[in-house]
């Protein structure tokens, strides 16, 4: 397999996730027959979202396939149903899948789901057909808070660095070992930190069930 010119990733930022499940809905619609929110709910078998949001501690975490370089699911699949696209995405061919769930046993991230109508596994395909057309993966496109971000590692890291730099300049972020001296006229611009759902959830910590 020749090395592709660009390797794409999706970065997940749990602090920004609102748990709205827009990504789950968009994923199910994208993997439906009709690809429309208005008609997908009426299809049989019902479309299945690959991505899922979990509530862990005070955060919501969108969990998706990591498209591992050395993918255990691919290694254990007895029928060769799981393969890698030229972009490096790990995809599953439902025609070849026999529903043995070896991939589910092997997956370190608990990703594979079963379609109970066809008894075959469904998994994230990175929306490779959308990416080939220059579109964003459906989950990333649907995320209203940029908790899911798509790009090359360089692009993603640059964005993270940019935000961190901005936060440091505004005196909101701290980096161990760094003292940031910013222009005096910007001292008054201290932006109030935004309310986060994790803050709301943590407020209940003393009266939660456990």
């Amino acid at each position: 397999m020749s090395k592709p010119s660009r390797e794409y990733y999706i970065m997940v930022i749990p602090e920004l996730c609102m748990g709205c499940k827009s990504c789950e809905i968009a994923c199910a619609v994208e993997h439906s027959k009709t690809k429309s929110i208005y008609t997908a709910p009426f299809e049989t078998p019902p479309p299945i979202a690959r991505i899922r949001i979990l509530a862990v501690e005070n955060y919501f975490v969108p969990m998706r396939c990591q498209h591992c370089k050395d993918a255990p699911c691919m290694a254990v699949c007895p029928t060769g149903a799981i393969s890698r696209t030229e972009e490096g995405f790990v995809v599953l061919n439902p025609q070849k899948c026999i529903g043995c769930l070896m991939c589910a046993t092997a997956c370190p991230f608990g990703h594979p789901k079963i379609d109970s109508y066809t008894r075959t596994v469904v998994k994230c395909d990175f929306c490779y057909d959308r990416i080939r057309k220059g579109a964003l993966p459906a989950c990333v496109e649907a995320c209203p808070t940029s908790a899911l971000r798509f790009g090359t590692l360089d692009e993603l890291m640059e964005k993270v660095a940019e935000e961190k730099a901005e936060a440091m300049l505004k005196g909101m972020g701290k980096v161990p070992g760094h003292v940031i001296v910013f222009p005096a006229e910007r001292m008054g611009e201290k932006k109030e930190p935004q309310m986060k759902v994790s803050d709301v959830r943590s407020m209940y910590s003393n009266v939660r069930w456990e």
């Binding site: 609102m18 709205c20 209203p144 808070t145 709301v200 407020m203 209940y204 003393n206 009266v207």
Partner: protein, 634 residues
């Protein structure tokens, strides 16, 4: 029998502090039946946009959402900001809450008018003193007229409260609210004109492209909530008292252990007493008790649930099976022949749960039907016949009880309820003097109304009890209504012996008067009784309500009605604690308006704190501060 697949197991011992709840959740899981706690787990994670109140579905250009982190949109398609969207959403919540209370009042008003016009023989004017007292307050001529005549005119005046076309303030509010408050409301321009009109205006203002100013929207919320507290809910209380009697101290028992193994168990659930009072009357009749024996039962046992339960226990001492989150558990005991519901806080899930047992779920209101339930529409003209029909269905269902699957937790608690303002006055010897003196010299430090719902987001009944125990230990008298009053009953705070848990001052007063340190004032519309009590205290001290060492709290609230109640408490000048976080945090402006700025305008404000122990500390501090201002010892 339809069994549901249980995806998530509930940590049954941790979700509630109430005895019997854990066992029944476990029983439900064994039998493949889901409860609200299971569905709560299935709903996780709950959407953050909804949690913060920054999602708008008011028009079909949307739905729109504001990104609270500032990466995405800061305005909806119409240009509405987070401030506008949050304020509009909360206003709609107030509208729904005020509508629920006031429509309940309308239904009682309807029966009251029928009684006044002699159109039904099944109801009568029980408390004629109260009828005359209220008529006088409303400026209706009493002398030389028959009760029927007075009632007829009163009914006409009250009916006009809903939809009178002029701009004059509501009559009930003007007759009953303290003058000092009325002046405050007048100055702010929030005197309500007609109940339906204010609710209607809420819907108009929140329509696409109308009111966008958060302060203006919230002030209308204040106006709408006032039309609820000082007129809608007030009417529901007054008329229920006139038709069924003003509550007096009465003993009852509470918790699921009130269900009987060898009797036909009927649960009345919902909010409106019109039908449930009849059900109790008919169920207790000799004819029905005999019929029950024919079917192998020892008799008929009626128990209450939620506020219908409160209405019948306040007047008849009917036992309470529990509060809102316990409605499904009652059926899961397998020992309930029929659950008869009117409206509000009745989970649609009941039909599914009832389908797993032999229980007949019977809906009775034209405005509330549930797929899977039996619908027997209630008509006040045929009250007795309909009640008889319903009770008969329950009795005939007794042989179908699944004996092998029956489990009734044995726990129940004795309690005293029935503390209407009139009953409290009577306990005090006919005058407020003893209470005022106790407040002045610091024997009692203050009064807190703890009200509201229960909510699976937090440990069931936990905050209600922790908060109340801390307050009474600090010599603060607690009054309460609704699901919270049932929580207090189940946990032993409504029996006179609970005075042992009170501080020395409150204990002394409770023992002297033979009352518990927490007083059950009724159902959730009876929060209006708390308003009347506050008014009486403020007026006899010559101060305004915000000056009183008093506070309100809804530690586990969930319903829109609670939003309306909270708002009319704040508007009436009460410092009001909320234990679950309202969906407003998406807007700093609205949050600040409700928790800070509103105090300058109305004397009361909201305070949000999920931890009941911390909330108790703050409430005690607020009360101490008010005492200092009055020059009373702290």
């Amino acid at each position: 029998m339809s069994h549901e697949y249980i995806k998530y197991k509930v940590a049954s011992k941790q979700v509630s502090i109430t005895p019997g709840v854990a066992e029944l959740i476990e029983k439900a899981e064994r039998e493949g039946v889901k409860t609200a706690w299971h569905r709560y787990l299935e709903q996780q994670p709950q959407c953050g946009f909804g949690t913060l109140g920054i999602c708008c579905r008011n028009c079909n250009m949307g739905p729109c959402r504001i990104d609270p982190f500032g990466h995405g949109p800061s305005r909806g398609i119409c240009g509405a900001t987070a401030d506008t969207i949050v304020a509009r959403n909360i206003l709609r919540m107030i509208a729904a809450g005020a509508a629920a209370h006031s429509d309940h009042a309308r239904d009682i008003c309807h029966v009251f008018k029928m009684v006044a016009e002699g159109k039904t023989r099944y109801y009568s004017l029980k408390d004629k003193e109260k009828l005359k007292f209220i008529a006088k307050q409303m400026g209706i001529k009493v002398g030389g007229r028959s009760d029927q005549e007075i009632a007829k005119e009163l009914a006409d005046v009250l009916f006009m409260e809903f939809g009178k076309p002029d701009d004059e303030p509501l009559k009930v509010l003007m007759s009953l609210a303290p003058e000092k408050r009325i002046k405050v409301w007048e100055k702010l321009g929030v005197l309500p004109r007609a109940i339906d009109r204010e609710i209607c205006e809420c819907m108009h203002r929140t329509h696409m492209g109308v009111d966008a100013d958060p302060a203006s929207l919230l002030l209308h919320g204040v106006r709408t909530s006032l039309s609820d507290g000082w007129s809608g809910s007030m009417m529901a209380t007054l008329l229920s008292d006139i038709l069924f009697g003003t509550p007096k101290p009465i003993k009852f028992s509470a918790n699921l252990g009130v269900l009987k193994e060898d009797m036909v168990n009927i649960i009345v659930h919902g909010h409106n007493p019109i039908l449930s009072m009849k059900i109790v009357e008919i169920a207790q009749s000799k004819e029905m008790q005999e019929l029950a024996k024919k079917y192998g039962a020892k008799g008929v046992n009626v128990a209450g649930m939620c506020c219908t339960g409160n209405e019948v226990l306040m007047r008849l001492g009917i036992p309470s099976a529990g509060n809102m989150l316990m409605q499904e558990l009652a059926i899961i005991t397998g020992a309930v022949e029929a659950m008869i519901v009117d409206y509000q806080c009745v989970m649609p899930a009941l039909a599914t749960v009832a389908g797993c047992y032999h229980t007949k779920l019977i809906t009775t209101e034209p405005k509330m039907k549930i797929p899977g339930a039996i619908h027997i529409e209630f008509e006040p003209e045929k009250a007795d016949e309909i009640a008889k029909k319903i009770v008969t269905i329950a009795i005939e269902n007794y042989p179908n009880r699944p004996r092998a699957r029956m489990y009734i937790p044995k726990e129940k608690m004795e309690a005293v309820a029935g503390f209407s303002v009139e009953a409290i006055l009577k306990a005090l010897g006919g005058t407020l003097e003893p209470l005022i003196n106790a407040l002045k010299d610091g024997t009692i430090k203050g009064i807190v109304g703890i009200v509201g719902c229960v909510n699976p987001k937090v440990k069931h009944n936990f905050s209600h009890i922790v908060l109340a125990e801390k307050l009474i230990a600090n010599d603060i008298l607690v009054v309460g209504t609704g699901c919270r009053a049932i929580a207090a009953a189940i946990h032993g705070l409504l029996k006179p012996e609970a005075a042992e848990k009170a501080g020395p001052g409150l204990k002394k007063i409770c023992n002297a008067l033979g009352i518990p340190p927490c007083l059950h004032m009724g159902s959730c519309v009876d929060c209006s009784r708390i308003l009347i009590a506050l008014k009486a205290l403020a007026e006899s001290l010559g101060v305004d309500i915000p000056d009183l060492p008093a506070a309100g709290s809804a530690p586990e609230w969930m319903s829109e009605k609670a939003v309306s109640i909270g708002t009319y408490f704040v508007a009436s000048g009460v410092f009001t604690h909320l234990g679950t976080i309202p969906p407003v945090l998406g807007s700093k402006t609205v949050t600040k308006l409700l928790t800070e700025d509103i105090e300058d305008l109305l004397g009361g404000k909201f305070y949000v704190e999920p931890d009941p122990a911390k909330a108790a500390e703050t409430i005690i501090k607020v009360i101490e501060e008010k005492r200092r201002k009055l020059g009373w010892p702290v």
